[in-house]
Amino acid sequence: MLKILAICGNGMGSALVLRMGLEPALADLGVQANITCTSAGQAGSMAQFADLIILPTNLLPVVDPPDDIPSVVVTNLINREEVYERVEAVLKEHYPEELGSV
């Protein structure tokens, strides 16, 4: 079970949209995950407990993801293909054992 942190400004707009894109992608990839949405302000303290971080490209200047936690950066948040491809690439690199586990 992967712990995924979806980050946006307030944790209730873009982060929810990211989660909506992630859920079908993870289901398709056979990855079991617990996705938490949070704000940029709380991301710093919560990131250390996450296995994976997902955030919009334009939040990178505000949220600096820790180097040791794999992060997925998405530009078009409602493009299911983009979300799928980017999360798949990061999972293959960092958590290959999780793919197809469910």
Binding site: G11, G13, V17, M20, P56, R80
Partner: protein, 159 residues
């Protein structure tokens, strides 16, 4: 949970309007929420401040922004508004600018708006539908799109 169709009406839809800049566009979206009794006037300032402080990340896809603030910043009800622009504006988001569709929202808690947000994403992620939203001149065109998507959603569920 109220659907997008139940929130969007003559009070909360403003099509093909002209604005000076992104701030005025966001303010208009907020004003519609205030007019609908869904937010206090100070919510509008919070929506603008959110972009000023955190950047243009609310531009979630090419042409599409979702301005909002936090529940405690003056949200009274969960509601969405739709503003479309005759001439697109720049938010300073190099990937997704310029923007001509703004779905603004207020939410009474962090989850109250999820279903409507999901409907909005489904609508806008379909290229043809998004183009129709961008080009719509009459409110009825938007309501028809919402009805169509409701019908197709029903078709997929077991209702």
């Amino acid at each position: 949970m109220r659907t997008l169709r139940e929130m969007l009406n003559e009070t909360t839809i403003l099509l093909q309007t002209s604005v000076r800049d992104w701030r005025q566009a966001v303010r208009l979206g907020g004003k519609l929420l205030v007019n609908a009794g869904a937010a206090k006037p100070e919510y509008i300032d919070a929506m603008v401040r959110c972009v000023e402080e955190l950047g243009p990340y609310i531009v979630i896809a090419p042409g599409l922004a979702i301005p909002h603030a936090r529940p405690e910043e003056g949200a009274l009800k969960t509601c969405f508004s739709l503003v479309t622009l005759k001439t697109p504006v720049e938010f300073g988001n190099p990937d997704n600018d310029p923007v001509n569709v703004l779905f603004s929202f207020s939410a009474t808690d962090k989850n109250a708006h999820i279903e409507a947000l999901r409907q909005m994403c489904t609508l806008c992620s379909d290229e043809e539908t998004f183009r129709k939203i961008q080009e719509a001149e009459q409110m009825e065109e938007i309501l028809d799109l919402l009805e169509e998507s409701k019908v197709s959603n029903r078709g997929r569920s077991t209702e």
